[in-house]
Amino acid sequence: MSNTDIEIVVDDPTAPEANSPAVTSNRVVDAVASLVLLALAVTLGWDNWRTGAAWDATGPEPGYFPFYLSIVLGGASLYGLLAAIFSRKEASEIFVTRAQLRRVMAVFVPTVLFCLATQFLGLYVASFLLIAGFMRFVGKIAAWKSLLTAFIFTAAMFVTFDIAFDVIMPKGPLEAALGY
């Protein structure tokens, strides 16, 4: 080994345990997804029928193409529903275990909160809160590191997008107070 070698070791203390109980099987999720898609196909199909899915003097009406696509989607999801119900293989496949779901939610819930905060506080404040909060409370990283990282990243984004590239992001009361 040459002296340029660097050993890299990263641990994952909050990794989901391997023996965690299953929340649901792939069959259930597949069946539910097929039902949702079927409902979507019916709704869109009905709307296109209302718009006009026939032929007129100039050719197909606006609803023609999507109407038949809704039928294709509806047919395929109906088939998918039946296939999921009768599938033995999918019944034995775990969709997500409880430990995995907990970890997924640990990202998903903050992401939803971040979107909400963006709507009211602007993107930059929301981004600072998300990064600092996530690093501190989910990643258990020291508070000063979390706050510093969040601040540097948010400031870098602000300089890159709003100032250098003129891509304007949603802003809230803080930016207004600072005069942006």
């Binding site: 890299i8 869109l44 193409f65 696509l69 999918e90 971040f114 709507q119 690093m135 590239f165």
Partner: protein, 503 residues
């Protein structure tokens, strides 16, 4: 050679300090994206797309395609050093690359991976240089029926040749086509499927969907895994590089075979993932001592990497020549072209010569610069993995949101992105492929327009799709491909029945 002259002109367009700098920035960002778990080629390109909105199209596409090359290079680093494929197409690289690293031959394996990536891309770019102008000048004669037939061929080959359950591919594709139709109808100006919502008036933006489907959903999926890793980041010395390169001619059969497989699968919608596995398996099958594969054989690195890069690069050929992307990332680049007001397809070669040849020249240059860059900076990039995922994940979420918002300056799009993130997570887990969805969403409007224009031209007669030899054979081929699994079964059934009769 007209292509050669135009290519030289392309190089002239590129060789400015500004473009070279953008190229470096793109490559570094790309390698970064390729190394990080939970991000990949398509995600990286989709998230970084907004950065390029204010650039001129040539600089923008140079930067984006360099992000793509960088991501392709970056995937190999984590596969070899940590046995973690950064991308699905680098899974096959781990089979022999990681054993090599464990034997202390990491530098050798990395050099092999980068060099073969370079060779694979180079072969594909050569193919693009000479084939794309020919195809596009041929396609200039296409009318709406021919275009619709080509779109149909693309969609049908996904259904017929894809490895996923057929009904799931159909679901994914029809859903994409339907969502593409939301909003204002381009032909009649009437509103469709908006249900009175003003937000839906704009339609569902392709890039917003992609950022959600690939970016957000990938983070959710990554969190399910155990994120611990252990390995050595090896520096590459010039001596190792030269010794690997000296042995290169010995493996020319493997390299040529993998390049061919890659180019073929890249142009047809087979993709880099299939190409890398096929390249690896064929190299193993034709080898004299098959048992040494999987134990750190250098050919086991050459074969999949060459194929994956050849395929990733040649996927851009149908996008440039016909406006039909051959992969998810190509679809996103196509979405980018539309944002900059360029209409992808055969006319691009006539109307925007500078742009097209600048892009092709950037493929050559980007690969050379990329090769040098990765060979010299591997340890730095490998240590990126030390950054805890708890810091990376929220930054990716913020970048996704910035990307989604910047496209149309709409808060609604951030929510839409979140929705697509959940959809992508569920779809990936129950086996509904995302590539047909992406492709349908980006091509939906154009396919519909082509269909309606042909119908208007023919007065509603479906026979227009068999009205001449060209369009007729494309349409027929499309239908054969759609029912290919059935035909294949019938054919093999027939031969089985015939064979005992002969014996």
């Amino acid at each position: 050679m007209e292509a050669f002259g135009l290519l030289l002109h392309g190089f002239a367009v590129l060789l400015t300090w500004k473009t070279l700098l953008l190229m470096m920035v793109g490559l570094v960002l790309g390698i970064f994206v390729g190394v990080l778990p939970g991000l990949g080629g398509p995600n990286g390109v989709a998230i970084l797309l907004p950065l390029t909105f204010t650039m001129d199209p040539t600089s923008a596409i140079v930067m984006l395609s360099c992000i793509y090359w960088g991501a392709l290079f970056g995937g190999a680093i984590t596969s070899i050093l940590f046995n973690i494929p950064g991308e699905a197409w680098s899974v096959a690289t781990t089979f022999d690359g990681y054993p090599m690293a464990q034997q202390g031959r990491a530098a050798e394996a990395l050099t092999a991976a980068f060099t073969s990536s370079f060779i694979g891309s180079l072969v594909a770019v050569l193919l693009i240089t000479f084939l794309a102008p020919m195809i596009s000048s041929f396609a200039l004669k296409f009318g709406p029926p021919e275009f619709f037939a080509v779109y149909l061929l693309t969609f049908c080959s996904f259904v017929g040749l894809g490895r996923e359950a057929k009904h799931k591919t159909v679901i994914s594709m029809s859903l994409g086509l339907l969502l593409a139709g939301i909003g204002m109808d381009t032909v009649s100006g009437q509103l469709r499927m908006t249900f009175g919502s003003t937000e839906l008036l704009r339609g569902i933006n392709f890039l917003v969907a992609v950022i959600g489907l690939f970016g957000i959903s990938e983070i959710l999926l990554t969190m399910e895994e155990r994120l611990a890793l252990r390995g050595h980041a090896a520096g590459i010395s010039l001596r190792v590089v030269l010794s690997v390169w000296r042995d290169l001619p010995k493996y020319w059969v493997t390299l040529a075979r993998s390049s061919f497989i890659g180019c073929w699968l890249g142009i047809t919608p087979g993709g880099a993932i299939a190409a890398s596995f096929m390249g690896y398996n064929l190299a193993k099958r034709f080898a004299k001592d098959q048992d040494s594969f999987g134990k750190g054989r250098i050919e086991g690195v050459f074969a999949p990497e060459t194929a994956a890069h050849a395929s990733g690069t040649s996927a851009l050929l149908p996008m440039l020549a016909l406006g039909i992307p051959g992969s998810g990332t190509a679809a996103i680049l196509l979405g980018g072209l539309m944002v900059w007001g360029l209409n992808p397809g055969p006319l691009l070669f006539v109307e925007h010569k500078d742009f097209v040849w600048g892009l092709i020249a950037s493929m050559y240059l980007g690969n050379v610069v990329g090769l040098v860059l990765v060979l010299t900076t591997v340890p730095i990039f490998a240590s990126i993995l030390r950054v805890p995922f708890a810091a990376v994940a929220p930054m990716i979420v913020v970048s996704c949101a910035i990307g989604a918002y910047a496209i149309q300056n709409a808060m609604f799009d951030i929510w839409l992105m979140l929705g697509f993130g959940v959809v992508g997570y569920v779809f990936k887990k129950i086996g509904i492929p995302l590539a047909p969805f992406t492709l349908a969403l980006v091509l939906g409007n154009r396919a519909e327009d082509a269909f309606r224009l042909s119908m208007i031209g023919s007065g509603g007669d479906m026979k227009v799709f068999w009205s001449n030899g060209l369009v007729g054979s494309i349409t027929t081929l499309a239908i054969i491909l759609l029912f290919w699994p059935l035909i294949d079964k019938a054919l093999s059934g027939a031969t089985r029945r015939l064979r005992p009769a002969k014996a």
